[in-house]
Symmetry: C2
Subunit: 662 residues, 2 copies
C-alpha cells in the first residue's frame, strides 16, 4: 500500500472561501437574535395581499384564532373563564395588599390586561393576572423612595409609572429580539428566588394573621421577626384562630385536587369561598370590634384613566425605571416560561419574543388604565388549563366577569377580612417552596444548588433584588468559568475499532506511540488560551517522558478541532505560539475537522498555511494514518525494513454507501 493510494481514499476537508464580513456577521446576528426564524412562514407567500394578511395575523394573534372560533370551543372557555375569575377576585385583592395598593387596583388589573393579552398573546392557556413576587418587589423598591403612609397618591402614581416602564421595556426586549436576556435566569435561580420570595411573603402575612396594625416595610427575615415579636402584646387571638381555620380549609382543598385532579374546581373556588364566608362572618359579628381587620370601602365602577397620573419627575425617574425593569424581567421570566410549558404539553409553538411584545403592550395599556404589573401567574394558568380552556377567549370571559364585579358587586367585598386574604396568600405560597427540587439540585449539581441557595438566602436574609443579583452573578460566573476552563482531553484508540476516545473515561483506550492526540474543548478564547497552552505543554512533556523511556520520539501532535465552534484572536495567537514551540522540538501539528467559522479565521490568519493544508484532516483516524505513515517512513530510513501493515483505509469505508441508499 503506497501513500498515494491512501490519500486517494482519504476524505478532503472542505476549505471554504472565507465568507465576506457581512455574510458572516448577518449569520451571527441571525443566530443570536433570530434563532427561531420567526418570519420564514411569510417567505413562501408571494401574493402581497396574502402576505400582509399573514403578517398581521402573526402580530395580532386574535385575527388568526377568532375567525376559526366556534360555539363548541366557547363552552369550554366559558367554564374556564368563570373559574379563573373566581380566583382572580381574591388574588387581585390579596396581591394589591402585598404591593401596598388599594385593593380595587388589584381588581382593575384583572379587567383590562386580559383583554389586551387575548388580542396579542399567543399562549392559549395563559391566564393573565397579578403575581405575588413582583407585587412585593414593586412595593419594596418604591417603598424605599416614597413613604406609602405619607403620600399614598404619589406612591400610586409611581406604581403606574413603573408599570409604564415595564411595558416599554418588555415590548422593547421583544422588538429587539432580546429574549436572550431572560435566558440568563437559570432554572436554579428561579427555584431559589421563588422559594425565597414565597418565604418572605408568608412571613409578611404574619401581620394579617396576628391582626397587627404596625409592621415593618422591610422584607428580610430579621426585620419581620423583630416586628412580630416586639409587639406580642398586640397579637389578636381571634384573628389568628380564623386565619388558621381558613388556611386548613384551603390546604385541604389543594390536597383534594392533588388526589383527584378532576375536582380542581373545588380548589379553584376555595379562595372565593374564604372571601365570601369571611366577609359574611365579619359583617355578622362586627369583626372590626374584635380585632379582625377588613379590606374597607371599595368603589363601584370600572377602571378610570390613569394617563395623567404618570409621573416622570427626574427625582423619581431612577427608582421607577429600576423597579420597572427588574419587575419586568421577573414577570417575563414567569410568564414566558409558563406559556412555554403549557405549549409543550399541548404541542404548539410559542415565540418568546412575540410573547414579550404582548406582555409589553398589556402593561403599557395597563399603566394608562389604573392597572399595575400583570403577567401570566402559574396558579391561575394551571387552573385555566385544568378547567379545559381552549383559546385566549377564557381571558376575555374572565375580563367580562371582572367588569360585572366592578360595576355591580365591588362594595360587597369591602367586608373581606384581611386575615382571610393572608390565608389565601399563605396557601398559594406554600406550593412555591419546592424543597424536593432543591434536594434534587443538591443531588445532581452542587453548583446549581449554590446558585439556588444564593437566591433563596439572599431574598430571605437581605432583600429580593440582592438575592436575584447574587444568584444571577453566580450563574454568570459559572458561565465564565466554563469559558475559562473548557475542558480538553487526551484521546486513545478504543481496541477493535477506529474510534478515539478520552483515555480517562475509557481506560482501555490505547495511545498510539509517537502520536499525541488531543481533543480541544470549545471555545478557544482569551480567557482560556493560556490554560490550553499550558495543558498541551504538560501533555507533550508527559508524552516525551513516556516515549523516550520506550526509545521512541514524539513526532506528531494531532488536535481534534471537531468540538471547537469559536476561536478569537488570542486563541489564534496561542496556536501560532504553540506551533513555533512544537516545531522547535521537532513535533508536527495536525488539525482534525475544523468547523467553518474556525477554519475561516485560521485561514485568514495564515495559521493553516503555517502548518500546511495537507496537515488538516477530516477524521482523527486519517490524521493518525498519515502520521503513522510518516513515522514508518522515518523508521524505514533508519531500519531499512518495510512499513508495517497499516489499517486498510478501504476496509474502513466498505459498504457504507448503503447508509444513504436505505
Amino acid at each position: 500500500m503506497t501513500g498515494s493510494s491512501e490519500t486517494d481514499v482519504i476524505q478532503k476537508v472542505n476549505f471554504p472561501r472565507p465568507r465576506s464580513f457581512f455574510t458572516s456577521f448577518k449569520s451571527d446576528l441571525k443566530e443570536t437574535f433570530f434563532p427561531d426564524d420567526p418570519f420564514r412562514q411569510f417567505k413562501s407567500e408571494t401574493n402581497p395581499l396574502n402576505r400582509t394578511k399573514e403578517v398581521l395575523q402573526y402580530f395580532i394573534t386574535i385575527l388568526e384564532w377568532l375567525p376559526k372560533y366556534n360555539l363548541r370551543l366557547f363552552r369550554y372557555d366559558l367554564l374556564a373563564g368563570i373559574t379563573i375569575a373566581s380566583l382572580a377576585i381574591p388574588q387581585g385583592i390579596s396581591y394589591a395588599k402585598l404591593a401596598n395598593l388599594p385593593p380595587i387596583i388589584g381588581l382593575y388589573s384583572s379587567f383590562v390586561p386580559p383583554l389586551i393579552y387575548a388580542i396579542f398573546g399567543s399562549s392559549k392557556d395563559l391566564a393573565v393576572g397579578t403575581v405575588a413576587a413582583a407585587s412585593l418587589l414593586l412595593a419594596s423598591t418604591l417603598g424605599d423612595k416614597v413613604s406609602i403612609k405619607d403620600d399614598p397618591a404619589l406612591y400610586l402614581r409611581l406604581i403606574y409609572t413603573s408599570t409604564f416602564f415595564t411595558g416599554i421595556f418588555q415590548a422593547a426586549l421583544g422588538i429587539f429580539r432580546l429574549g436572550i436576556l431572560v435566558d440568563f435566569l437559570s432554572h436554579s435561580t428561579i427555584i431559589g428566588f421563588m422559594g425565597g420570595t414565597a418565604t418572605i411573603i408568608i412571613l409578611q402575612q404574619l401581620k394579617g394573621v396576628f391582626g397587627l396594625m404596625q409592621f415593618t416595610h422591610k422584607t428580610d427575615l430579621f426585620s419581620v421577626m423583630h416586628s412580630v415579636f416586639s409587639q406580642t402584646k398586640e397579637w389578636r387571638w381571634e384573628s389568628a384562630v380564623i386565619g388558621i381555620c381558613f388556611l386548613i380549609f384551603l390546604l385541604f382543598t389543594k390536597r383534594l385536587m392533588e388526589k383527584k385532579p378532576n375536582l380542581f374546581w373545588v380548589s379553584a373556588v376555595a379562595p372565593m369561598v374564604v372571601v365570601v364566608v369571611g366577609g359574611v362572618f365579619a359583617y355578622v359579628v362586627h369583626g372590626e370590634n374584635h380585632g379582625i381587620q377588613i379590606v374597607g370601602h371599595l368603589n363601584k365602577g370600572i377602571n378610570p384613566s390613569s394617563l395623567t397620573k404618570l409621573n416622570f419627575e427626574s427625582k423619581y425617574l431612577p427608582v421607577t425605571i429600576k423597579a420597572g425593569i427588574i419587575t419586568g424581567i421577573l414577570a417575563l421570566a414567569e410568564g414566558v416560561a409558563i406559556g412555554r410549558s403549557f405549549a409543550v404539553m399541548k404541542n404548539y409553538q410559542i415565540d418568546g419574543n412575540k410573547e414579550m411584545i404582548a406582555f409589553g403592550i398589556m402593561n403599557l395599556v395597563g399603566s394608562f388604565t389604573s392597572c399595575y404589573l400583570t403577567t401570566g401567574p402559574f396558579s391561575k394558568s394551571a387552573v385555566n388549563y385544568n378547567a379545559g380552556c381552549k383559546t385566549q377567549m377564557s381571558n376575555v370571559v374572565m375580563s367580562v366577569c371582572m367588569m360585572l364585579t366592578l360595576l355591580l358587586l365591588a362594595p360587597l367585598f369591602s367586608y373581606t377580612p384581611l386575615v382571610g386574604l393572608s390565608a389565601i396568600i399563605i396557601s398559594a405560597m406554600l406550593g412555591l417552596i419546592k424543597y424536593k427540587e432543591i434536594y434534587f439540585l443538591f443531588k445532581v449539581d452542587k453548583f446549581d444548588f449554590c446558585v439556588c441557595m444564593a437566591a433563596f438566602l439572599g431574598v430571605v436574609l437581605v432583600s429580593m433584588d440582592v438575592g436575584l443579583m447574587l444568584s444571577v452573578g453566580f450563574s454568570i460566573m459559572r458561565a465564565l468559568l466554563y469559558v475559562a476552563r473548557p475542558g480538553s482531553s487526551k484521546l486513545g484508540n478504543i481496541p477493535n475499532s477506529t474510534m478515539f476516545r478520552d483515555v480517562e473515561q475509557y481506560p482501555n483506550a490505547t495511545e498510539v506511540l509517537g502520536i499525541l492526540i488531543i481533543q480541544l474543548g470549545s471555545p478557544i478564547y482569551f480567557a482560556n488560551s493560556a490554560y490550553i497552552k499550558e495543558k498541551i505543554t504538560r501533555w507533550i512533556e508527559d508524552e516525551l517522558d513516556t516515549t523516550n523511556s520506550k526509545g521512541c520520539d514524539l513526532e506528531h501532535l494531532i488536535l481534534d478541532f471537531g468540538g471547537v465552534i469559536s476561536i478569537d484572536m488570542t486563541g489564534i495567537e496561542m496556536l501560532f505560539e504553540m506551533q513555533r514551540n512544537t516545531a522547535k522540538r521537532g513535533i508536527k501539528v495536525a488539525l482534525v475537522n475544523p468547523r467553518i467559522p474556525v477554519l475561516e479565521k485560521l485561514m485568514i490568519s495564515n495559521f493553516i498555511e503555517s502548518i500546511g493544508k495537507e496537515s488538516v484532516f477530516l477524521s482523527i483516524e486519517e490524521a493518525v494514518e498519515a502520521s503513522r505513515f510518516m513515522l514508518n517512513q522515518s523508521k524505514d530510513n533508519i531500519n531499512n525494513t518495510g512499513p508495517s501493515t497499516t489499517v486498510e483505509s478501504n476496509s474502513i469505508v466498505t459498504g457504507d454507501t448503503d447508509i444513504q441508499t436505505i
Copy 2:
C-alpha cells in the same frame, strides 16, 4: 445478520459509577486553579530532607540557580546588566515624571525591586523596572483625590500605599492561584489599551516638548489638546527644536537596531546619550534661562525607608486600594506575558502564579523602600534578552549599577532637560502603537477588533480605566454570548465513509432518512437551553416536512454529546422536556458519546434511565446502525420483507488492532 451479533461488536459506553461530590469537586478545583500541577515534581521525592530542599528551591528560585552559577555565565550577565542599567536611569527619571513623582523615586525603583526579583522570580530574561502605562494610570487615579501641587508629600505617601496594596494583591493572586483573572485580559484588549495609553502618553509629552509650565491633569485627547492650544503664546521654540532633534536621533537608533540586530546596544545606550548630551548642553547654555526646563536637584544616597510613610487613613483607602489593584493587574499582565514569551523562545517553563508571588513580594518590599510600582517592562526585557543575559544575575548587576549611581552620580542628572525625557518617552511609546496588528485583527476577527478599539478609544477619549473596563466588558460579553449560543449543527454522512459531519460545511454529506443527527455544542447551560430546545424543535419540524413528503416517518433523534463538556440543571430539565416532547411524536432519542462529567449528571438525574441505557452509544455510526435496524424492523412488520443489508460492523474495525501494536 442478526441484532444480537451486531450488539456483540458494538463498543460499550463506559457508564461510570458517579464519583462522590468531593472527588469531582476536588478535580474541578484542581482543573480551575492548579491546571499546571506545580507540585508534582515533589511528589516523587520521598526523602523529607530533599523534599524540603526542593520545596525551598521551588519558592526561592535563587537557591536553584545560584549554586550552579559560574564565571562564564557572569560575563554575559555583566554586559546585559550594564546595558539595562544605562536604559534604567533615563527611563526611571522619565516615568517618575509621568507619575508626577520626584525623579529620584524612579532611580530608587530600579535598585531594590530587581534584587528581590532575582531572589524569587523565575524568568531568566525579565528586566525589572517601572512602566509608562501604570505610572500614568497611578497618577491619574490618585491625582483625582489629591492635588500634587497642594500636598506633594501626601501624594507620595499615597503612591507608596497603593504600591503596598499592589504587592499584597499580586502576591494574594499568586498564592490563591487566581492567575485566571489575568487571563481575562485578552490579546485584543492589551493591544488596544497599550496603543491608547501610548497615544495619551505621547500627548502628555507635548508639555515637555513645548516647554509649558501649566498643564491639565486629565489624560483625554480633548483636555490635552485644549491645554496645548489654549496657551500657544507660552510655547518655547528652543525646547521644541531640541526635542525634535533628540527624537530623530532616538528613532534613528531604533531603526538601526531593526536593520542590524547586533547593534542593539546603540539603541539601548541612546537614551543615556540623550540624557548626558542634554544635561551637558543645558548646563553649558544655562538652558533654564532659555525655556529649557531641567529635572532639578537630586540627592545622593540610596533608598530611604518609607515604612512609616504608608497611609492607611480610611479617607484615602478606597482610592489607594483601587489604584493598587488596577495597576497591579495591568503590571501583572505585562510582566507575566513578557516572561512567558521569552521563556517560550528559550524553551523553559514559567509558572504564572509563582511569578505573581515574586512580583507581589517585589512591590511589597518596594513600598517599604521608597519605590513605586515595578514590573517587567517590555523594552527593558527585550534589551536584556538581546544583550545575551543568562540568568536573573543581570538584574543584580543593574541593581548594583543603580546603587553606585545613587551613591555617587545622582546630582549630575539634575541638569537633564525635561524635553530630553519627553523625547525618550515618545520614542519608546511609538513602538507600542501596533497599527499592523490592529489591521490584522480587523481582517481576522471583527469582534476582537471592536474589543481593541473600545480599549483604544476609551483610553484616548475618556480615561485609562474606562477604556480598560469597556474592553474587558466587551470581552466578557462575547464569552457570555458564546455560552448563550453554543452552536449546534445537523450532521450527515460523508459519502464512502463512516464519518458524520455538519451538512452546512459539507454539502455533499447525505442525511439518513428517518434519522435526525444533531451535534450539540458545549456547554448546555441555563443561558442556552431554551435556544437549544428551540433549535432542535425547528430541525425536527423541518425534518418532518421532508420525511413526510417522502412518505416516511422521522423516528430517531440522535444527539451527539461528544463535544459537550458541561451541563447544568436547566440543561438537564431541557433534555427531559425535549424527550417528553419527542416521545409524543413517536421519536426515539439516542445519545452518542457522553463525557464523564455530563454522563454522571445524566445518570443521577435519571435522564439515562428515562431514555434507556441501550440508547446510549459510543459512536454516531453505531447509533445510526441501531436506529436503522429498528427502522427496518418496523418496516418488516409492514412489508414482510427481509432487512436490507446493513453495514458490517466487523468490517469497520478490522485490522485496527495493529494501531496499538505499532
